[in-house]
């Protein structure tokens, strides 16, 4: 990425420290996200990936360091946090759509009530996005009438219609049946192609490799490796990363010439 240095910095995390009581979950995280970049965060369960995204969104108080979005500090307690959150589109693991609202109502609520935008304009935008993710015919359905993959695509559209600067994805396919993973990841891949800035937490390694500009490997609350995807996946430089990546491959335990009458 040649012009990287010239690119606008959107998100800057500086020596972030996060603890629950005495347990330190994020030790000393520093990260800069430029406009148009796709950062993939991977790491073992419990290493603090979700916590990192929640801190970026001001859902968790932090114990040290700073997080700024376009030079404005993110602080869950401050009065203008709602203002800042509009620029951060977050999609959670458990597709938290609002069960008492239809797909369209779910999508239009925040643009209308938070951003006070024009209803017709928002509706058109929502329908365009629904069309693009193949769900226009579901616009008047309730969340309970949708499959997991469909709900998750709606949740993505809901976040997109706020016109955020950065999208944050927290294991958005982890709760899905395998055959639905693809339809959701394809939407995210399309967003990456269109040049969206994203921070993605995922356990889907081949997806990570395809979508990432940079991979962050998080372990024990710190960034252990930060590298281009090809470098990270093919030549991880730390033992911890090697060990983690090896959990995704299986060694053959049987040889095909042995069990003849299997």
């Amino acid at each position: 990425m040649a012009g990287q240095l010239l690119k606008e910095t959107l998100l800057k995390i500086d020596h972030l420290r996060k603890a629950y009581g005495d347990t330190v979950v994020l030790k000393d995280i520093s990260l800069t996200v430029h406009k148009g970049e796709v950062i993939v965060v991977i790491g073992p369960s419990g290493c603090g990936k979700s916590t990192l995204l929640r801190c970026i969104n001001g859902l968790e108080p932090i114990q040290g360091g700073s997080i700024t979005l376009q030079d404005k500090p993110i602080d869950g307690q401050s009065k203008d946090i709602a203002q800042i959150r509009q620029k951060l589109g977050m999609v959670f693991q458990n597709y938290e759509l609002f069960p008492h609202k239809t797909v369209l109502q779910n999508i239009m609520l925040a643009p209308l009530k938070v951003q006070k935008r024009d209803k017709e304009e928002v509706r058109q935008m929502a329908e365009q996005w629904l069309e693009r993710v193949g769900l226009l015919d579901k616009k008047d359905s309730y969340p309970r009438q949708l499959s997991g993959g469909q709900k998750q695509r709606v949740a993505i559209v809901r976040a997109l219609c706020m016109e955020p600067e950065i999208m944050l994805f927290d294991e958005v396919t982890a709760a899905l049946d395998p055959e639905m993973v693809r339809e959701v990841l394809d939407v995210i891949l399309a967003l990456a192609k269109a040049g969206r800035t994203m921070v993605i937490v995922t356990h889907e390694m081949s997806f990570a490799r395809a979508v990432a500009d940079r991979v962050l490997f998080l372990d024990g609350g710190e960034i252990v490796e930060e590298a281009l995807p090809e470098v990270f996946f093919d030549h991880p430089s730390t033992d911890r990363a090697k060990k983690f990546l090896s959990t995704f491959t299986y060694d053959a335990v049987r040889h095909h010439d042995v069990p003849q009458n299997y």
């Binding site: 969104n57 859902l59 709602a82 203002q83 959150r85 509009q86 951060l88 977050m90 959670f92 458990n94 938290e96 759509l97 609002f98 069960p99 008492h100 609520l109 925040a110 009530k113 938070v114 951003q115 309730y142 969340p143 309970r144 949740a155 809901r158 976040a159 706020m162």
Partner: protein
């Protein structure tokens, strides 16, 4: 007609008297229900408090109300309290006190259940969309709470209406009592009056409660996620 004892209903003003008794039942239920709903919402919100003392006290209140038969409560309030504290209130007042005391506890527990049943994620995805705290309550939490609450509280209302039949025990002349009086008065002329009168009362209760339960199950179906 004679054999079923329905004929007594058409003697004199019997039917109107029975209707008058029904009105007493409905009136007392409605007053108690109204008080219970208002106090119950307040009590329910108090019950969601994290304060230990508040939790224990409200728990004790709820358990006492649940364990005590309503009849015992009625006797305590009407006969006990009037004697012990030299209070002098009517049987109707006693019954409103007891039913509101009971209804507030039950309603409070329903409200507590409905509020705490909203998952934390609902709040978070709302905040993440930039909604403020009060917008989150207004658009997300309260509508979902009401949807859970309304069918449940309608069931409570029918339960309270039915239980009002107990108040004849402390001398309130409600529909059951009127029925008994009619049966007594016509013992000689129509010995089968009991069946007709009670069947009619059954019908009254059914007509009063059935539409309410029907509404409840309809709403429940409509709003179930």
């Amino acid at each position: 007609m004679e054999a079923l004892g329905i004929d007594v209903l058409f003697k004199g003003s019997n039917f109107m008297r029975l209707l008058g008794g029904l009105w007493v039942t409905v009136e007392l239920s409605l007053i108690s229900v109204a008080i219970s709903m208002v106090l119950g919402v307040l009590f329910g919100i108090i019950m969601t408090s994290k304060n230990k003392a508040v939790k224990i006290i409200s728990r004790i209140y709820l358990e006492v109300v649940r364990i005590m038969p309503q009849m015992v409560l009625l006797f305590i309030v009407f006969f006990g309290a009037t004697r012990a504290f030299d209070l002098n209130f009517s049987a109707e007042t006693a019954c409103v006190i007891v039913f509101a005391f009971w209804g507030t506890a039950e309603m409070g527990d329903l409200v507590r259940g409905a509020v705490t049943a909203i998952p934390k994620h609902q709040y978070e995805s709302s905040y993440a969309l930039g909604l403020t705290k009060s917008q989150t309550y207004y658009y997300i939490v309260i509508p979902q709470t009401l949807r859970r609450l309304i069918p449940l509280s309608i069931n409570l209302v029918t339960r309270m209406m039915k239980t009002t039949s107990l108040i004849m025990m402390i001398g309130v002349v409600e529909v059951m009592k009127v029925g008994q009086q009619i049966i007594e008065a016509n013992r000689m002329t129509s010995p089968n009056a009991a069946f007709g009168v009670y069947a009619t009362i059954f019908l009254f209760y059914f007509i009063a409660c059935w539409p309410i339960s029907l509404l409840a199950s309809k709403l429940e179906k409509k709003w179930s996620d």
